[in-house]
Amino acid sequence: MHPILIIVFAPLLAAIVAGLTNKSAPSVFAKGITTGALFLSAALSWPIFLGFLSGSQEATVVPVLQWVQSGTMDFDWALRVDALTAVMLVVINTVSALVHLYSWGYMEEDPDQPRFFAYLSLFTFAMLMLVTADNLVQMFFGWEGVGLASYLLIGFWFKKPSANAAAIKAFVVNRVGDLGFMLGIFGTFLVFGTVSIPEILGAAPAMSGSTIGAFGYRFYTMDILCILLFIGAMGKSAQLGLHTWLPDAMEGPTPVSALIHAATMVTAGVFMVCRLSPMFETAPTALAIVTFIGAATCLFAATVGTTQWDIKRVIAYSTCSQLGYMFFAAGVGAYGVAMFHLFTHAFFKALLFLGAGSVIHAMHHEQDMRYYGGLRKKIPITFWAMLAGTLAITGVGVLGFFGFAGFYSKDAILEAAFARGTEVSNFAFWAGAFAALLTSFYSWRLMFLTFWGKPRWAESEHIQHAVHHGHDDSEHGNPPVQEDAGDDVAHHVPSPDHADGTAGYHPHESPWSMLVPLIVLTVGAIFAGYVFKYPFIDGSTEGVDPNGFWGNSIYFNEGLIHALHDVPLWVKLTATVVMLLGFAIAWMAYIRDTSIPAKAAKQLGPVYDFLFNKWYFDELYNTIFVKPAFWIGRKFWKIIDIGVIDRFGPDGAAWVVMQGSGAAKRFQSGYLYSYALVMLLGIVAAITWVLL
């Protein structure tokens, strides 16, 4: 039996067992079986990945079961294992196993733990089905499966109205993307007569230059197909326009944010573009759009990230922004580089989220950074872990010597965009460079607000609650308000007894089950870039090799990788310079003179409001989609269904009949007999007709 079968189906079995036993067994049963399954999957995934690195592993497809055969459309359940899949396998299973472990501590007081762990494992299964798909429909199965798990986990604390709203929003916004994905699959089947990925990729170059009619217009065939599929990717990966669900998804428990909304699910769109890269390569317009949307998202999300107060929302916008980097890397043709950033990002972003979770845990569910401060000494392991994550995301490193994970992957993305040399890739380069400055700024802002300065805990409602009601008075277990955004916290009652701003509260470092994953991810955030840069970017350690690590699993643009290495020195230094600049601004504003941010916000006025309100996307969508949908629905129902169809249809007919007979009662009780009579007459007529 191929190990991939165990890797994929162990989490499913664990999810089913844990979900069905639910509370009828002690929660340690569900936790043990799901966590055990994930560690098993992770342990089996690494040898496959290392096998591809060393060249000893062959790409293969493991059939599972026939799925659908309808005319010429034919697709099966099957698990594809190649280098691209192997990268995703280690990312998904490693982060998932660590998040399972972390949740032992983080969710300890929650009464619904079996359900939580079952959802986590179910998610992992769906994600694995997505990345092992050999046809577009199975990819869509995984795609929707992770969507379901995401919906369930965002709404895990289902008593909270905000969590429910966020869950529905995530599902419905993703469905807008799915509309594109589904149309893309239909179109692909129409053009190629198959949904098998290898067959499509093989036939795609021959279709370059062909045109097709769709939606009343004519397009280049490959462009329209790739654009439709990319719309799906935009939904899942929260790209500009379809990004609004991701920040709200932070309503879910923090381990969920780390696993689903940072490391794995949201990267599915990037994975899809890379998986279909030979197809996208035949669609220049589509690639330009991918590049543009990626660059625009990367910039947009970074600007919003600079103004948010909620620690998880800052990281959420950061994720959105980093996904933009991955997309424009793919858009310029550097798929290996995009996957490299996906890989390193999984480690350092999961680390940042889990670190944030550890801070939230220590601060009694307070998420507003305005009420943090001075935590460096109180929770040192969390601090050091988050510091490593920050160094990794901001791309700290010295050229030719050593750098943290993001140093290698993000710099390579900027270099690839520069080397590509088209108009849109130049835009991507500059947008990416500016976003890198903002990344550095908001990341350090987060660090400074949280760990430096004096404690500002006293004004936090959560902390006051903890102090006054005792630390053990847990709010876990579906309380009406939990992990709330903090923007509406109105209790500004400085405690008179504690002038130091602590209100007498003592934050505790998290338990070991939470710290071990942090430490493991810290190692990843430090070394993942340095260790794996050659195989991911160049294909091998011995120079640029198109037949190296990636094999046929992605389109490998040898010329671009050579050009990427030959960019001018100033390009290579750009990322480092903007990183230092961002750090300096953050240091000025949040360490040296803490009055600057308020003054700047006041001076910038409308611009600040625009950013703080996330460019008013939510308000816009509410006004033009959500409210009209309800309004139109009501009008259709009351005016057309009742006012027109019924009035002139059955009610009108009844009125006519009643006018004629003047005996409503007799009519109403007699309708059945008249029906039977009409039917009977019909039969008689039929018989007569046939007999004649």
Partner: protein, 515 residues
């Protein structure tokens, strides 16, 4: 099995039990009805197992001359087999669902259901045009009675609406049938399916049949009887209404309109597409604002059945198979959703959404089943709803990408109204004490929901079991339709590979530009 009149037996078992039901007490009537429907289910399974996939098109045929020109002819193909399976599968579930909910005139109620089962099986098994007509029209009489006697407060108006729409359609259909038999000289359906009527005549015949089938489906704008009927019908009535009766319209299209009038069908493709698109968007938006659970699901049924009509008129294998799977899937899923409503209606006696909330706390098992059926309704892959939607829309895309674009918006709107419903009923805090005190599923409710859940997952993961029996019949139908099939809007033109190939570096042709 050879020579054993299994179809007639399946018709007689519920009929005899129905007659017996009139003369026994309530509890005996329940047991009798359950026994009879289970026997029919067992016979149905035997039928499925004995059905020879790839064998003769019409199997288990029975012929008996009644009198001149009029014949009692039964026989099924794969399409009829699947719809008979759906009927016999849902019937015992309906009897169980009515176990405690119906307390007055139980014998008559059970008899009505049993007679309906006979008539439903008859519709799908009939091979004679007039026999079909009798079953088709008579099948609605027990339904009127079920709504009119055991229905809600406004039952008279609802069954009147139902009656009025249906009546007009059936009169026109009957006239068309008489004309056809006269021209073709036979009332044998398999022969008529091969008979080529003159194209001008087809138009009128098609419209006459359309009047009847469009009401049954129901298509927009003749759909308003459905929400009214569902709301007033008892739970089991809604299950059969959504599960089987709505399928009569779809079955009519696939058995009569398409094979008998291919040219006219092609001619009316635009009409069907426009009505289907309107139905999907219109009824989905209306479903969004409903306050009554049953009304919401009724409107969602209209949207789902609109996918069926559009897919049938795509004239290709994926569309036809997708439409069939959609009918089977919708029969299971919407039936299950009505049962889910029934479970809590039995406890609180209201269908008002706002009277519930937070049921995940006191009814976690119920919440799980409801979630599964909600997901199946919005076409989550792995459930039957996805296979249905995916194949149907693949089919329509080959004819019109624009129409498919509009139809596919249903997946967004569907997610919207179903998740909004689920959130208000199952999630949130417990607002009402009586709703919070409701108990979780009992053994009987488990027994009615679990088999449907299993079937929904089976059809989603391994639909081959359901597609295989229909394959040859769909292929034959597609071959018959091929001559009239509408051209797609794709018009794929090959062209020279494009100059600005994406993989070339911008500077490459002019040499190393950057240095």
């Amino acid at each position: 099995m050879e020579g054993f009149p299994i179809l007639t037996t399946m018709l007689l078992v519920p009929l005899i039990a129905a007659i017996a039901c009139f003369f026994v007490n309530a509890q005996t009537a329940r047991l009798l009805a359950l026994g009879a429907t289970l026997i029919d289910l067992a016979l149905g399974i035997a039928l499925w197992l004995a059905y020879d996939i790839g064998g003769a098109q019409w199997q288990f045929t029975e012929v008996a001359d009644v009198f001149a020109g009029f014949e009692y002819r039964l026989g099924i193909d794969g399409i009829a087999l699947m719809l008979i399976m759906l009927s016999v599968f849902l019937m015992p579930i309906c009897i169980l669902a009515s176990w405690d909910a119906i307390s007055k005139r139980v014998g008559e109620y059970m008899a009505a259901f049993l007679i309906m089962e006979t008539l439903m099986i008859g519709v799908f098994a009939a091979q004679d045009l007039f026999l079909f007509y009798i079953f088709f029209e008579a099948g609605l009489i027990p339904m009127y009675l079920i709504i009119g006697i055991w229905g809600g407060a406004d039952r008279i108006y609802a069954s009147f609406k139902f009656f009025l729409y249906t009546l007009i359609g059936s009169v026109l259909m009957l006239v068309a049938m008489l004309w056809m038999v006269n021209v073709a000289g036979t009332s044998y359906i398999p022969t008529l399916m091969q008979y080529d009527f003159a194209p001008e005549a087809q138009t009128w015949l098609w419209l006459a049949f359309f009047a009847s089938f469009a009401v049954k489906v129901p298509m927009w704008p003749v759909h308003t009887w459905l929400p009214a009927a569902h709301v007033q019908a008892p739970t089991a009535g809604s299950v059969i209404l959504a599960g089987v009766l709505l399928k009569l319209g779809g079955y009519g299209f696939i058995r009569f309109s398409l094979p008998m009038f291919p040219e006219a069908s092609a001619q009316f493709v635009p009409l069907i597409f426009v009505l289907s698109v309107i139905a999907v968007i219109y009824t989905s938006l209306v479903a969004l604002v409903q306050e009554d659970m049953k009304k919401l699901i009724a409107y969602s049924s209209v949207a789902h059945m609109a996918i069926v009509t559009a897919a049938l008129f795509a004239f290709n294998v994926q569309g036809l198979e997708g439409a069939m799977v959609m009918m089977l899937s919708h029969g299971l899923v919407s039936g299950a959703l009505f049962l889910c409503v029934g479970v809590i209606y039995d406890r609180l006696h209201t269908r008002e959404i706002s009277r519930y909330g937070g049921l995940a706390i006191n009814m976690p098992r119920y919440a799980l089943f409801f979630l599964l059926f909600t997901m199946a309704s919005i076409g989550l892959p792995g459930t039957s709803g996805f296979i249905a939607e995916f194949l149907s829309l693949t089919g329509t895309y080959q004819v019109s990408s624009t129409v498919t674009l509009f139809l596919t918006t249903g997946i967004i709107l569907g997610a919207g109204y179903m998740l909004y419903l689920y959130r208000r009923v199952v999630f949130g805090v417990q607002v009402h004490e009586d709703a919070a005190a409701m108990t979780d599923l009992n053994a009987r409710e488990w027994a009615i929901l679990a088999p449907i859940a299993a079937a929904v997952l089976w059809m989603g993961v391994y639909p081959e079991s359901f597609l295989a029996p229909m394959r040859a019949d769909i292929a034959a139908l597609e071959a018959r339709l091929a001559r009239a099939a509408p051209a797609g809007d794709a018009h794929l033109n090959a062209g020279e590979p494009r100059a600005e190939a994406a993989n070339a570096l911008a500077g490459e042709h002019e040499g190393e530009g950057e240095h």
